[in-house]
């Protein structure tokens, strides 16, 4: 048995590692778990960055049965923060019974979709809904999305980090000028501007430095603020009001900035993103006993939660799935009263869970891999990885990277501030998402695969810990030209 210990902040009411071991041995002795299965059991006591997520506190995950195949691959995930010692044993039995292929499944869930790769799950439609109707959400919660971040603010707006970024960029411009290669127009792109605070701070600082050094670069700047939705961009304008002559506001799909900005191919000297990659569509692979599995998910609501929500919003129990569909199609206007629509949305989102199952892959899924990553590269990465692991493919992040770097000037660079896994050994330290951050999804980003994709695109990527705030889990990815 592999038992994963993770570094949890223990709460007195929560189960401990000892409780979990005791409960499992009890289940073994009582015959709830067979000997052979016990030997292959994989227990993960999740470290979950975001307490709000898509999992039950105790969850059992199995490989789908195949004819003639031993179905004993079984993962048990326990969020020890959210389950009390008294409830642990019962929840373990309940979760195992649910996944036991021989016992009929209890009808206690309202299923919202069929099993599929996480990337295609309706969870991402909820994520899109959040960004398109952010103002509605914030009005209902009474706090901005930045306040929902761990620490209550974005590391992107750290003054010292911004000052260093400006200084580095100024040095680049000076070097280009020294080599008579400074372009007449100096393009910068910020993707995911949020409230525009970082852009405003950056431009303030750059102007001050430029004046101090008398280099007259500032008027040549062309600062592009890009985001998912026009509503967000409108909110960023006040933060850059002192620099509006230099700024352009562009609605852009972070998965493919080239689609919008192809006319700036090879022209942009700095591209910056903060907390964007962790919010792009993702899917996961797992390797167990040398075999590779795709993690498929299926969104559901616990029947008790579905009934409660239905009652609260005067819906029949059978109407809940239909109304969720309307919500995802129409947004908060799915109810005649918009505020009721937002309230329904928030209740459903809070209750939304994902069932998971492992589907064996006979070979690496070449066609379905993100662009820029082929199955041979993935095989090479996995060859050097721990034997049993579960990884994020970070499909959206890889796609975004691949479709962003063609915009870079030969001397330009990309900086991405986010939560990265830069060593696959870290995947064994715990669960890296998906979590819920307010109304959006958050996942750790697979920096190892990103490095592979970057190499084939002609860039080396480097990860520097964000040292400006103690305890920050973010890193800064930056690119250099690959020789």
């Amino acid at each position: 048995m592999i038992l994963q210990f993770n570094h949890l902040q223990r709460k007195s009411a929560a189960a401990t590692t000892t409780d979990v071991i005791d409960a499992l041995y009890g289940l073994l002795e009582e015959g709830h778990i067979g000997q052979s299965q016990f030997a292959r059991l994989r227990i993960q006591l999740d470290w979950i960055q975001y307490r709000q997520n898509f999992r039950e506190p105790v969850m059992v995950l199995r490989a789908t049965n195949e004819a003639g195949e031993d179905p004993s691959i079984m993962d048990i995930h326990v969020d020890t923060r959210q389950v009390s010692p008294e409830a642990l044993r019962g929840k373990l039995i309940e979760a195992m019974a649910r996944e036991d292929g021989e016992t009929p499944r209890p009808e206690d869930r309202v299923v919202l979709e069929k099993f599929q790769s996480f990337r295609s799950s309706i969870a991402w439609k909820f994520n899109g809904l959040y960004w398109h109707h952010l103002t509605d959400w914030e009005k209902a919660t009474g706090r901005s999305y930045e306040q929902a971040l761990p620490g209550g603010k974005s590391d992107a707006n750290d003054a010292a980090a911004v000052a260093d970024s400006v200084a580095d960029f100024w040095t680049l411009l000076k070097d280009l000028e020294n080599h008579h290669q400074l372009p007449a127009e100096i393009f910068l792109l910020e993707i995911g501007v949020g409230m525009g605070k970082r852009s405003g701070l950056w431009l303030d600082r750059f102007r001050a430095l430029d004046e101090e050094r008398g280099t007259k670069y500032y008027p040549r700047l062309r600062f592009l603020l890009a985001d998912y939705a026009l509503a967000t961009l409108e909110r960023s304008r006040p933060a850059v009001r002192a620099h509006l002559d230099l700024c352009s506001f562009i609605v852009l799909d972070a998965l493919n900035p080239m689609k919008t900005l192809a006319f700036l191919r090879h022209k942009i000297l700095q591209i910056h993103l903060t907390n964007v990659y962790d919010n792009l569509p993702d899917e996961e692979l797992a390797r167990r006993d040398g075999r590779l599995y795709l993690v498929e998910v299926r969104a559901y609501l616990a029947s008790s939660e579905a009934n409660r929500i239905a009652q609260e919003f005067a819906l029949g129990a059978a109407e809940i799935a239909w109304m969720v569909g309307r919500l995802l199609e129409l947004g908060p206007d799915c109810f005649p009263e918009r505020s009721r629509g937002v309230a329904f949305w928030q209740e459903v989102w809070k209750a939304l869970r994902l069932e998971e199952r492992l589907v064996p892959l006979d070979e690496l899924p070449g066609e379905s891999l993100p662009s820029g990553l082929d199955s041979r590269q993935l095989a090479d990465v996995l060859r050097n990885a721990p034997s049993d692991l579960r990884i994020h493919l970070s499909s959206g992040a890889l796609e975004s990277f691949r479709n962003t770097v063609p915009l870079l000037h030969p001397r330009g660079y990309l900086q991405v501030q986010d939560i990265f896994i830069s060593d696959l050994n870290d995947c064994r330290l715990g669960f890296q998402g998906p979590g819920k951050l307010d109304g959006s999804i958050v996942n750790w980003v697979n920096g190892v695969l990103l490095r592979e994709v970057a190499e084939r695109a002609g860039y080396d990527v480097h990860f520097a810990p964000f040292h400006y705030r103690k305890g920050s889990r973010t890193s800064i990815l930056y690119t250099t030209q690959r020789e």
Binding site: Q181, R265, H266, P410, R411, E455, R456, G458, Q481, E483
Partner: protein, 333 residues
């Protein structure tokens, strides 16, 4: 050489197929043999030649499909250069290579590949060699006192090779110097080295100078103005420059350059998969003709087609030929 006016050709490389990339990488992972790889290369080169012929090019190359990149094909043949064969993860990576003693002058055996090209086409053939300036930027030097001395000795080695190629029947050789635009301050000595390279070589010699094409993206930006006036000292017949991607900004430089050199005009942007129409190509040629007479112009892509998918490369070259034919017609030639 009997060629039409505005002769068409590639800069050097043709599209590198994905399957060939994978097989090359397999070779480095020691999963296929050298014999198999050579046979694969022969087959791929024949296909590349045929594609160029069908597209209608007047002058063809071997598509440089035997080459992993612009450096290693030479480095691994050059006596005196030590290479770390474990340093490649992907075939396109550069070897880590070093020169720790004076380079011996010995044959690199390139004529064999030229003869293969000649045996498989009845068109005019061009053979390309990476120049000493660019090679000196990629090979670590711990012996020579400076880059110029190192590059001069590389030029000596390659000079013998160019003469071997001429003996084998080569009439049109091209020196590729993609690093020059990244190091414009090197131009004075780089031209001297170039002259060492081509001394006594009895063939048409072209020099290709671009802004880089590593991984299908530019490595540098700037203006070709840095070439003036030193480049006039180069004892070569042709300069091949990129203009399609970079636009017309530098095109007026042709007015001066065409007095001393034939000009290979880049009319196809090889850093995008978007295929130019024949009209676009024709318009680019007409623009060039405002600065240089047709008799002095060759029509090419901006750089090698190495990074383009095969269908895109073929379509681009076909459009280039069609656009060129349209202009020839306008000129009554």
């Amino acid at each position: 050489m009997s060629l039409p006016i505005l002769p068409t050709t590639v800069v050097g490389s043709y599209s590198m197929p994905g399957w060939l990339e994978r097989l090359k990488t397999e070779y480095f992972a020691r999963r296929i043999s050298r014999v198999d790889l050579d046979e694969i290369h022969d087959t791929a080169v024949k296909a590349a030649i045929k594609d160029q012929e069908i597209a209608g090019l007047d002058i063809v190359t071997d598509g440089e499909l035997r080459r992993d990149n612009l450096v290693d094909y030479f480095v691994e043949r050059m006596p005196g250069v030590q290479i770390d064969r474990a340093s490649k993860k992907f075939y396109y990576d550069f070897y880590d290579s070093v020169v720790e003693r004076k380079l011996p002058h010995a044959s690199l055996g390139l004529a064999k590949d030229f003869l293969f090209l000649k045996a498989n086409t009845d068109r005019e053939a061009k053979f390309c060699v990476t120049g000493p300036h660019s090679l000196s930027k990629r090979i670590r030097n711990t012996f020579y006192p400076n880059e110029e001395a190192f590059a001069t000795d590389i030029a000596g080695v390659l000079n013998l090779e160019l003469k071997e190629l001429v003996k084998a029947g080569a009439r049109f050789l091209q020196i590729d110097e993609p690093y020059l635009s990244g190091f414009p301050d090197d131009l004075p000595w780089a031209v001297n080295v170039l002259n060492t390279l081509v001394a006594g070589v009895q063939a048409k010699i072209g020099v290709h100078i671009c802004y880089g094409n590593r991984y299908g993206k530019p490595s540098w930006e700037g203006s070709y103005k840095y070439l003036l006036p030193k480049i006039f000292e180069a004892k070569v017949q042709q300069l091949t420059l990129e203009f399609a991607r970079r636009g017309e900004e530098d095109l007026d430089i042709l007015r001066e350059l065409a007095k001393s050199f034939e000009i290979g005009v880049g009319t196809i942007d090889v850093k995008t998969n978007a295929v130019e129409t024949a009209d676009v190509v024709a318009e680019r040629i007409r623009k060039a003709l405002e600065f240089a007479p047709a008799e002095r112009l060759f029509i090419l892509p901006d750089c090698g087609c190495f990074h383009l998918p095969r269908d895109v490369a073929f379509a681009k070259l076909s459009a280039m030929v069609e656009g060129t034919r349209a202009v020839r017609k306008e000129l009554g030639k």
